[in-house]
Amino acid sequence: MEFNAVYFWESLQSGLTYLPRTMELTGIPILCGFVFGILFAVVRVYKVSFFSPLIAVFVVIYQGLPTVVALLIFNLMFMANFNAVSSSLSLGITAAQIDNIWIGIVVLSLQAICNIEEAFRGAFYSVDNGQHAAALSVGLTEVQTLRRIILPQMLPVALPMVTNNIVGIIKNSSIVVAIGITEVLAGASIPASKTYSFLESYIAAALIYWVLTACVEYTFRRIELRGRKYRRQLA
Protein backbone atom coordinates (compact mmCIF):
# COMPACT_ATOMS: atom_id res chain seq x y z
CA MET A 1 0.00 0.00 0.00
CA GLU A 2 1.40 3.36 -0.99
CA PHE A 3 1.23 6.48 1.09
CA ASN A 4 0.42 9.56 -0.96
CA ALA A 5 1.59 12.76 0.77
CA VAL A 6 -0.55 15.01 -1.43
CA TYR A 7 -3.72 13.10 -0.59
CA PHE A 8 -2.72 13.08 3.05
CA TRP A 9 -2.34 16.88 3.02
CA GLU A 10 -5.73 17.27 1.34
CA SER A 11 -7.36 15.06 3.93
CA LEU A 12 -5.67 16.91 6.76
CA GLN A 13 -6.99 20.23 5.47
CA SER A 14 -10.45 18.82 4.96
CA GLY A 15 -10.43 17.30 8.45
CA LEU A 16 -9.26 20.57 10.01
CA THR A 17 -12.15 22.51 8.51
CA TYR A 18 -14.37 20.22 10.60
CA LEU A 19 -12.37 20.74 13.79
CA PRO A 20 -14.88 23.35 15.06
CA ARG A 21 -17.58 20.66 14.79
CA THR A 22 -15.55 18.27 16.91
CA MET A 23 -14.85 21.07 19.37
CA GLU A 24 -18.58 21.74 19.65
CA LEU A 25 -19.29 18.05 19.93
CA THR A 26 -16.84 17.66 22.83
CA GLY A 27 -16.68 21.15 24.37
CA ILE A 28 -20.36 21.37 25.25
CA PRO A 29 -20.43 17.88 26.83
CA ILE A 30 -17.31 18.64 28.84
CA LEU A 31 -18.83 21.87 30.13
CA CYS A 32 -22.14 20.15 30.97
CA GLY A 33 -20.13 17.35 32.53
CA PHE A 34 -18.38 19.71 34.92
CA VAL A 35 -21.46 21.70 35.89
CA PHE A 36 -23.92 18.84 36.33
CA GLY A 37 -21.35 16.21 37.25
CA ILE A 38 -20.15 18.19 40.27
CA LEU A 39 -23.72 19.17 41.19
CA PHE A 40 -24.90 15.56 40.99
CA ALA A 41 -21.91 14.35 42.97
CA VAL A 42 -22.81 16.77 45.77
CA VAL A 43 -26.45 15.63 45.64
CA ARG A 44 -25.35 12.02 46.00
CA VAL A 45 -22.77 12.61 48.69
CA TYR A 46 -25.26 14.55 50.81
CA LYS A 47 -27.90 11.89 50.02
CA VAL A 48 -30.53 14.42 48.96
CA SER A 49 -33.80 12.52 49.09
CA PHE A 50 -35.46 11.53 45.79
CA PHE A 51 -32.76 13.06 43.54
CA SER A 52 -29.88 11.05 44.92
CA PRO A 53 -31.34 7.59 44.13
CA LEU A 54 -32.64 8.90 40.81
CA ILE A 55 -29.15 9.96 39.76
CA ALA A 56 -27.67 6.72 41.06
CA VAL A 57 -30.02 4.63 38.93
CA PHE A 58 -29.44 6.78 35.88
CA VAL A 59 -25.65 6.56 36.20
CA VAL A 60 -25.73 2.78 36.51
CA ILE A 61 -27.93 2.42 33.44
CA TYR A 62 -26.13 4.95 31.29
CA GLN A 63 -22.62 3.76 32.21
CA GLY A 64 -23.57 0.29 31.02
CA LEU A 65 -24.63 1.53 27.61
CA PRO A 66 -22.09 1.60 24.74
CA THR A 67 -21.94 5.06 23.17
CA VAL A 68 -22.92 3.78 19.73
CA VAL A 69 -26.00 2.08 21.13
CA ALA A 70 -27.01 5.25 22.99
CA LEU A 71 -26.54 7.24 19.78
CA LEU A 72 -28.67 4.87 17.73
CA ILE A 73 -31.44 4.82 20.33
CA PHE A 74 -31.50 8.59 20.80
CA ASN A 75 -31.36 9.13 17.04
CA LEU A 76 -34.26 6.79 16.41
CA MET A 77 -36.38 8.28 19.18
CA PHE A 78 -35.65 11.74 17.89
CA MET A 79 -36.60 10.87 14.31
CA ALA A 80 -39.76 9.07 15.36
CA ASN A 81 -41.08 11.59 17.86
CA PHE A 82 -39.73 15.03 17.17
CA ASN A 83 -42.28 16.08 14.55
CA ALA A 84 -45.21 15.00 16.69
CA VAL A 85 -43.87 16.83 19.76
CA SER A 86 -42.99 19.89 17.71
CA SER A 87 -46.43 20.21 16.13
CA SER A 88 -48.28 19.60 19.39
CA LEU A 89 -46.27 22.47 20.90
CA SER A 90 -46.65 24.34 17.58
CA LEU A 91 -42.92 25.07 17.45
CA GLY A 92 -43.10 25.18 13.66
CA ILE A 93 -39.90 23.20 13.06
CA THR A 94 -39.38 19.69 11.76
CA ALA A 95 -36.74 17.09 12.55
CA ALA A 96 -35.11 17.67 9.18
CA GLN A 97 -34.39 21.29 10.10
CA ILE A 98 -32.44 20.34 13.18
CA ASP A 99 -28.72 19.65 12.91
CA ASN A 100 -28.28 16.10 14.18
CA ILE A 101 -25.02 17.11 15.86
CA TRP A 102 -27.28 17.92 18.82
CA ILE A 103 -28.08 14.26 19.24
CA GLY A 104 -24.37 13.57 19.48
CA ILE A 105 -23.95 16.44 21.93
CA VAL A 106 -26.74 15.12 24.16
CA VAL A 107 -25.39 11.56 24.16
CA LEU A 108 -21.83 12.67 24.90
CA SER A 109 -23.00 15.18 27.52
CA LEU A 110 -24.81 12.49 29.47
CA GLN A 111 -21.71 10.38 29.31
CA ALA A 112 -19.50 13.23 30.52
CA ILE A 113 -21.91 13.95 33.37
CA CYS A 114 -21.84 10.31 34.50
CA ASN A 115 -18.04 10.10 34.29
CA ILE A 116 -17.35 13.35 36.09
CA GLU A 117 -20.01 12.64 38.72
CA GLU A 118 -18.32 9.34 39.53
CA ALA A 119 -14.86 10.90 39.60
CA PHE A 120 -15.93 13.67 41.96
CA ARG A 121 -17.94 11.41 44.20
CA GLY A 122 -14.93 9.17 44.65
CA ALA A 123 -12.73 12.18 45.35
CA PHE A 124 -15.15 13.45 47.96
CA TYR A 125 -14.67 10.36 50.07
CA SER A 126 -10.90 10.83 49.88
CA VAL A 127 -11.16 13.99 52.01
CA ASP A 128 -11.39 12.65 55.53
CA ASN A 129 -14.54 13.34 57.50
CA GLY A 130 -12.62 14.91 60.35
CA GLN A 131 -11.95 18.09 58.43
CA HIS A 132 -15.65 18.42 57.74
CA ALA A 133 -16.34 18.19 61.49
CA ALA A 134 -13.50 20.63 62.21
CA ALA A 135 -14.88 23.19 59.77
CA LEU A 136 -18.32 22.98 61.35
CA SER A 137 -16.77 23.23 64.80
CA VAL A 138 -15.15 26.60 64.03
CA GLY A 139 -18.55 27.87 62.92
CA LEU A 140 -18.57 27.37 59.16
CA THR A 141 -21.86 26.47 57.49
CA GLU A 142 -22.20 23.33 55.34
CA VAL A 143 -21.92 25.39 52.17
CA GLN A 144 -18.84 27.27 53.40
CA THR A 145 -17.28 23.96 54.43
CA LEU A 146 -17.90 22.49 51.01
CA ARG A 147 -16.58 25.49 49.15
CA ARG A 148 -13.56 26.35 51.27
CA ILE A 149 -12.38 23.01 52.64
CA ILE A 150 -13.79 20.01 50.78
CA LEU A 151 -13.90 21.10 47.13
CA PRO A 152 -10.35 22.50 47.01
CA GLN A 153 -9.07 19.13 48.26
CA MET A 154 -11.29 17.08 45.99
CA LEU A 155 -10.16 18.78 42.81
CA PRO A 156 -6.57 17.51 42.76
CA VAL A 157 -7.81 14.00 43.53
CA ALA A 158 -10.53 14.08 40.90
CA LEU A 159 -8.54 15.75 38.14
CA PRO A 160 -6.40 12.83 36.90
CA MET A 161 -9.53 10.74 36.48
CA VAL A 162 -11.42 13.65 34.92
CA THR A 163 -8.56 14.21 32.46
CA ASN A 164 -8.78 10.60 31.36
CA ASN A 165 -12.53 10.92 31.00
CA ILE A 166 -12.28 14.04 28.87
CA VAL A 167 -9.68 12.48 26.60
CA GLY A 168 -12.04 9.50 26.37
CA ILE A 169 -14.93 11.76 25.37
CA ILE A 170 -12.85 13.41 22.65
CA LYS A 171 -11.82 10.07 21.20
CA ASN A 172 -15.32 8.72 21.57
CA SER A 173 -16.77 11.67 19.70
CA SER A 174 -15.63 10.19 16.37
CA ILE A 175 -18.22 7.47 16.85
CA VAL A 176 -20.99 9.89 15.84
CA VAL A 177 -20.27 8.98 12.20
CA ALA A 178 -22.62 6.10 13.02
CA ILE A 179 -25.59 8.46 12.72
CA GLY A 180 -24.09 10.51 9.92
CA ILE A 181 -22.71 13.50 11.77
CA THR A 182 -19.75 15.01 9.98
CA GLU A 183 -16.82 15.95 12.20
CA VAL A 184 -13.05 15.50 11.98
CA LEU A 185 -13.05 11.80 11.03
CA ALA A 186 -15.82 12.08 8.42
CA GLY A 187 -14.37 15.39 7.24
CA ALA A 188 -10.93 13.96 6.67
CA SER A 189 -12.49 11.11 4.72
CA ILE A 190 -14.27 13.39 2.20
CA PRO A 191 -11.34 13.56 -0.28
CA ALA A 192 -11.03 9.77 -0.11
CA SER A 193 -14.47 9.29 -1.62
CA LYS A 194 -12.98 10.39 -4.93
CA THR A 195 -9.38 9.20 -4.63
CA TYR A 196 -9.88 6.08 -2.46
CA SER A 197 -6.96 7.32 -0.32
CA PHE A 198 -8.61 6.05 2.86
CA LEU A 199 -5.39 5.26 4.67
CA GLU A 200 -4.19 8.86 4.21
CA SER A 201 -7.57 10.15 5.42
CA TYR A 202 -7.62 8.03 8.54
CA ILE A 203 -4.06 8.88 9.43
CA ALA A 204 -4.84 12.56 8.95
CA ALA A 205 -7.82 12.21 11.32
CA ALA A 206 -5.66 10.30 13.79
CA LEU A 207 -3.10 13.10 13.76
CA ILE A 208 -5.73 15.74 14.49
CA TYR A 209 -7.17 13.74 17.37
CA TRP A 210 -3.74 13.05 18.72
CA VAL A 211 -2.77 16.75 18.81
CA LEU A 212 -6.13 17.68 20.33
CA THR A 213 -5.94 15.14 23.14
CA ALA A 214 -2.28 15.98 23.78
CA CYS A 215 -3.24 19.65 24.25
CA VAL A 216 -6.03 18.72 26.64
CA GLU A 217 -3.79 16.39 28.63
CA TYR A 218 -1.05 18.96 28.87
CA THR A 219 -3.44 21.67 30.08
CA PHE A 220 -5.03 19.47 32.70
CA ARG A 221 -1.74 18.11 34.01
CA ARG A 222 -0.64 21.70 34.55
CA ILE A 223 -3.79 22.45 36.53
CA GLU A 224 -3.27 19.26 38.53
CA LEU A 225 0.21 20.31 39.56
CA ARG A 226 -1.00 23.71 40.66
CA GLY A 227 -3.75 22.28 42.84
CA ARG A 228 -1.29 20.12 44.63
CA LYS A 229 0.99 22.52 46.43
CA TYR A 230 -0.26 21.68 49.91
CA ARG A 231 0.58 18.03 49.46
CA ARG A 232 4.30 18.66 49.76
CA GLN A 233 5.83 16.16 52.05
CA LEU A 234 7.80 16.90 55.17
CA ALA A 235 10.80 19.00 54.23
Binding site: A133, A134, L136, S137, G139, L140, R148, Y230, R232
Partner: protein
Protein backbone atom coordinates in the same frame (compact mmCIF):
# COMPACT_ATOMS: atom_id res chain seq x y z
CA UNK B 1 -22.32 28.50 83.35
CA UNK B 2 -22.85 25.60 81.01
CA UNK B 3 -25.45 23.02 81.76
CA UNK B 4 -25.94 19.85 79.78
CA UNK B 5 -29.02 17.86 80.69
CA UNK B 6 -30.13 14.31 79.98
CA UNK B 7 -28.33 13.73 76.70
CA UNK B 8 -29.45 10.55 74.98
CA UNK B 9 -28.05 9.02 71.85
CA UNK B 10 -28.25 5.64 70.22
CA UNK B 11 -26.64 4.28 67.08
CA UNK B 12 -28.65 1.71 65.14
CA UNK B 13 -30.86 0.99 68.13
CA UNK B 14 -27.93 0.62 70.50
CA UNK B 15 -28.01 3.13 73.32
CA UNK B 16 -24.64 4.87 73.71
CA UNK B 17 -25.61 7.78 75.97
CA UNK B 18 -28.31 7.24 78.59
CA UNK B 19 -29.30 10.55 80.08
CA UNK B 20 -25.89 12.07 80.62
CA UNK B 21 -25.87 15.39 82.47
CA UNK B 22 -23.05 17.72 83.37
CA UNK B 23 -22.73 21.13 85.00
CA UNK B 24 -19.73 23.28 84.25
CA UNK B 25 -18.99 26.58 85.98
CA UNK B 26 -17.12 29.35 84.19
CA UNK B 27 -13.41 28.67 84.30
CA UNK B 28 -13.89 25.01 85.23
CA UNK B 29 -11.59 22.37 83.82
CA UNK B 30 -13.60 19.17 83.65
CA UNK B 31 -11.81 15.91 82.92
CA UNK B 32 -13.95 13.12 81.51
CA UNK B 33 -12.58 9.64 82.07
CA UNK B 34 -13.88 6.25 81.10
CA UNK B 35 -13.11 3.03 79.28
CA UNK B 36 -13.12 2.76 75.51
CA UNK B 37 -16.63 2.77 74.07
CA UNK B 38 -18.20 4.39 77.12
CA UNK B 39 -19.54 7.27 75.01
CA UNK B 40 -17.10 10.06 75.84
CA UNK B 41 -16.49 11.16 72.26
CA UNK B 42 -20.16 10.90 71.41
CA UNK B 43 -21.00 13.07 74.41
CA UNK B 44 -18.61 15.83 73.31
CA UNK B 45 -19.82 15.63 69.71
CA UNK B 46 -23.44 15.97 70.81
CA UNK B 47 -22.62 19.18 72.67
CA UNK B 48 -21.26 20.64 69.46
CA UNK B 49 -23.97 19.16 67.20
CA UNK B 50 -21.37 17.14 65.32
CA UNK B 51 -23.61 14.29 66.36
CA UNK B 52 -27.37 14.70 66.42
CA UNK B 53 -28.57 13.73 69.91
CA UNK B 54 -31.90 11.92 70.35
CA UNK B 55 -32.76 14.07 73.35
CA UNK B 56 -31.19 16.51 75.76
CA UNK B 57 -30.77 20.17 76.57
CA UNK B 58 -27.83 22.50 76.48
CA UNK B 59 -27.62 25.85 78.21
CA UNK B 60 -24.73 28.18 77.64
CA UNK B 61 -25.26 31.22 79.80
CA UNK B 62 -28.95 32.22 79.76
CA UNK B 63 -29.76 30.52 76.45
CA UNK B 64 -31.15 26.97 76.36
CA UNK B 65 -31.39 24.83 73.22
CA UNK B 66 -32.93 21.45 72.63
CA UNK B 67 -30.18 19.13 71.40
CA UNK B 68 -32.63 17.17 69.29
CA UNK B 69 -34.79 19.91 67.83
CA UNK B 70 -32.43 22.88 67.52
CA UNK B 71 -32.84 24.99 64.40
CA UNK B 72 -29.94 25.57 62.00
CA UNK B 73 -29.48 29.03 63.43
CA UNK B 74 -29.37 27.75 67.01
CA UNK B 75 -26.84 25.11 66.01
CA UNK B 76 -24.62 27.71 64.40
CA UNK B 77 -24.93 29.94 67.46
CA UNK B 78 -23.82 27.08 69.76
CA UNK B 79 -20.93 26.21 67.47
CA UNK B 80 -19.79 29.81 67.55
CA UNK B 81 -19.69 29.74 71.34
CA UNK B 82 -17.76 26.48 71.52
CA UNK B 83 -14.60 25.08 69.99
CA UNK B 84 -13.35 21.55 69.52
CA UNK B 85 -9.87 20.04 69.67
CA UNK B 86 -9.82 16.68 67.92
CA UNK B 87 -7.99 13.46 68.63
CA UNK B 88 -6.72 13.39 65.02
CA UNK B 89 -6.06 17.15 64.89
CA UNK B 90 -8.22 17.53 61.75
CA UNK B 91 -6.37 20.56 60.46
CA UNK B 92 -7.46 21.84 57.05
CA UNK B 93 -4.87 20.24 54.79
CA UNK B 94 -5.32 22.76 51.99
CA UNK B 95 -4.52 25.69 54.24
CA UNK B 96 -1.36 26.92 55.88
CA UNK B 97 -0.99 26.98 59.65
CA UNK B 98 -1.93 30.64 59.79
CA UNK B 99 -4.90 30.18 57.45
CA UNK B 100 -6.11 27.28 59.60
CA UNK B 101 -6.26 29.55 62.62
CA UNK B 102 -7.83 32.44 60.67
CA UNK B 103 -10.55 30.39 58.98
CA UNK B 104 -13.10 30.49 61.78
CA UNK B 105 -12.49 34.17 62.47
CA UNK B 106 -12.73 35.33 58.87
CA UNK B 107 -15.32 33.01 57.34
CA UNK B 108 -17.57 32.32 60.30
CA UNK B 109 -17.23 35.42 62.45
CA UNK B 110 -16.59 37.93 59.68
CA UNK B 111 -13.56 39.42 61.43
CA UNK B 112 -11.66 41.60 58.93
CA UNK B 113 -8.69 39.73 57.46
CA UNK B 114 -6.07 42.06 58.85
CA UNK B 115 -7.35 41.89 62.41
CA UNK B 116 -7.81 38.12 62.10
CA UNK B 117 -4.24 37.68 60.91
CA UNK B 118 -2.92 39.65 63.88
CA UNK B 119 -4.94 37.57 66.34
CA UNK B 120 -3.90 34.35 64.62
CA UNK B 121 -0.23 35.32 64.72
CA UNK B 122 -0.52 36.16 68.38
CA UNK B 123 -2.01 32.78 69.23
CA UNK B 124 0.61 31.06 67.12
CA UNK B 125 3.34 32.68 69.16
CA UNK B 126 1.42 31.62 72.23
CA UNK B 127 1.59 27.92 71.26
CA UNK B 128 5.25 28.35 70.29
CA UNK B 129 4.95 27.82 66.53
CA UNK B 130 5.65 31.25 65.13
CA UNK B 131 8.18 29.92 62.64
CA UNK B 132 5.65 27.48 61.16
CA UNK B 133 3.07 30.07 60.13
CA UNK B 134 3.34 29.32 56.40
CA UNK B 135 3.80 25.57 56.66
CA UNK B 136 1.10 23.14 55.58
CA UNK B 137 -0.23 20.55 58.08
CA UNK B 138 1.49 17.72 56.19
CA UNK B 139 4.81 19.32 57.05
CA UNK B 140 4.23 19.27 60.82
CA UNK B 141 4.68 16.62 63.50
CA UNK B 142 1.63 15.34 65.36
CA UNK B 143 2.44 17.46 68.39
CA UNK B 144 2.85 20.57 66.28
CA UNK B 145 -0.40 19.86 64.45
CA UNK B 146 -2.25 19.56 67.73
CA UNK B 147 -0.77 22.83 68.98
CA UNK B 148 -2.14 24.48 65.83
CA UNK B 149 -5.46 22.77 66.55
CA UNK B 150 -5.43 24.29 70.03
CA UNK B 151 -4.53 27.74 68.66
CA UNK B 152 -7.38 27.40 66.15
CA UNK B 153 -9.78 26.81 69.04
CA UNK B 154 -8.38 29.38 71.48
CA UNK B 155 -8.31 32.21 68.93
CA UNK B 156 -12.12 32.05 68.71
CA UNK B 157 -12.36 32.97 72.40
CA UNK B 158 -15.16 30.45 72.92
CA UNK B 159 -17.13 29.98 76.11
CA UNK B 160 -15.85 26.44 76.30
CA UNK B 161 -13.28 24.30 74.49
CA UNK B 162 -14.01 20.60 74.09
CA UNK B 163 -10.91 18.40 73.93
CA UNK B 164 -11.28 14.82 72.74
CA UNK B 165 -8.21 12.81 73.74
CA UNK B 166 -5.90 15.51 72.41
CA UNK B 167 -2.69 13.54 72.90
CA UNK B 168 -3.67 9.94 72.30
CA UNK B 169 -2.84 9.83 68.57
CA UNK B 170 0.71 11.16 68.85
CA UNK B 171 4.12 9.66 69.52
CA UNK B 172 4.81 9.46 73.26
CA UNK B 173 7.72 11.90 73.09
CA UNK B 174 5.40 14.59 71.68
CA UNK B 175 2.77 14.28 74.41
CA UNK B 176 4.66 16.48 76.89
CA UNK B 177 4.87 19.59 74.71
CA UNK B 178 1.17 19.31 73.87
CA UNK B 179 0.09 18.89 77.49
CA UNK B 180 2.20 21.95 78.27
CA UNK B 181 0.09 24.02 75.87
CA UNK B 182 -3.18 22.61 77.24
CA UNK B 183 -1.97 23.57 80.71
CA UNK B 184 -1.53 27.13 79.41
CA UNK B 185 -5.10 27.11 78.12
CA UNK B 186 -6.33 26.07 81.55
CA UNK B 187 -4.24 28.73 83.28
CA UNK B 188 -5.79 31.34 81.03
CA UNK B 189 -9.08 30.61 82.75
CA UNK B 190 -10.80 29.22 79.66
CA UNK B 191 -13.57 26.78 80.49
CA UNK B 192 -12.78 23.34 79.17
CA UNK B 193 -14.09 19.81 79.03
CA UNK B 194 -11.33 17.37 78.30
CA UNK B 195 -11.61 13.67 77.58
CA UNK B 196 -8.28 12.08 78.36
CA UNK B 197 -6.49 8.90 79.32
CA UNK B 198 -3.61 10.89 80.83
CA UNK B 199 -4.57 10.28 84.45
CA UNK B 200 -1.88 12.25 86.21
CA UNK B 201 -2.46 15.17 83.88
CA UNK B 202 -6.20 15.07 84.55
CA UNK B 203 -5.56 14.97 88.27
CA UNK B 204 -3.25 17.95 87.99
CA UNK B 205 -5.27 20.37 85.85
CA UNK B 206 -8.91 19.43 86.44
CA UNK B 207 -11.01 20.87 89.24
CA UNK B 208 -13.78 18.43 88.41
CA UNK B 209 -13.55 14.82 87.27
CA UNK B 210 -16.31 12.78 85.67
CA UNK B 211 -16.12 9.03 85.28
CA UNK B 212 -18.29 7.57 82.52
CA UNK B 213 -19.02 3.94 81.78
CA UNK B 214 -21.62 2.29 79.59
CA UNK B 215 -23.20 5.59 78.56
CA UNK B 216 -23.83 6.92 82.06
CA UNK B 217 -21.94 9.14 84.49
CA UNK B 218 -20.95 6.67 87.19
CA UNK B 219 -19.30 9.13 89.53
CA UNK B 220 -18.17 12.72 89.61
CA UNK B 221 -16.28 14.89 92.06
CA UNK B 222 -13.06 16.72 92.71
CA UNK B 223 -9.80 15.09 91.54
CA UNK B 224 -9.08 14.34 95.18
CA UNK B 225 -12.41 12.52 95.58
CA UNK B 226 -12.23 10.53 92.34
CA UNK B 227 -8.54 9.64 92.35
CA UNK B 228 -8.08 9.56 96.12
CA UNK B 229 -11.29 8.04 97.42
CA UNK B 230 -13.44 6.66 94.61
CA UNK B 231 -16.78 5.41 95.92
CA UNK B 232 -18.03 3.28 93.07
CA UNK B 233 -16.65 -0.15 92.37
CA UNK B 234 -16.46 0.50 88.61
CA UNK B 235 -14.41 3.67 89.17
CA UNK B 236 -12.00 1.85 91.47
CA UNK B 237 -11.51 -0.95 88.98
CA UNK B 238 -10.91 1.43 86.07
CA UNK B 239 -8.47 3.60 87.99
CA UNK B 240 -6.50 0.70 89.42
CA UNK B 241 -5.57 -0.40 85.91
CA UNK B 242 -4.16 3.03 85.18
CA UNK B 243 -2.44 3.52 88.49
CA UNK B 244 -0.67 0.23 87.98
CA UNK B 245 0.25 1.07 84.42
CA UNK B 246 1.49 4.53 85.32
CA UNK B 247 3.52 3.45 88.31
CA UNK B 248 5.25 0.93 86.04
CA UNK B 249 6.99 3.85 84.37
CA UNK B 250 8.63 4.87 87.61
CA UNK B 251 10.08 1.52 88.47
Amino acid sequence: MIEIKDVQKSFNGQSVLKKVSLQVEDGDVVAVLGPSGSGKTTFLRCINFLEHADAGELSIGPKTVDLNRASKREILAVRRKTAFVFQNYNLFNNKTVLENIMEGLVTARKVPVKAAREKAEESLVWVGLKEKRDAYPAQLSGGQQQRVGIARAVVLEPEVILFDEPTSAMDPELVGETLEVIRKVAHRGITMIIVTHEMSFAREIANKVVFMDGGVVVEEGTPEEIFGHPKEERTKKFLSRFINAESMYYI
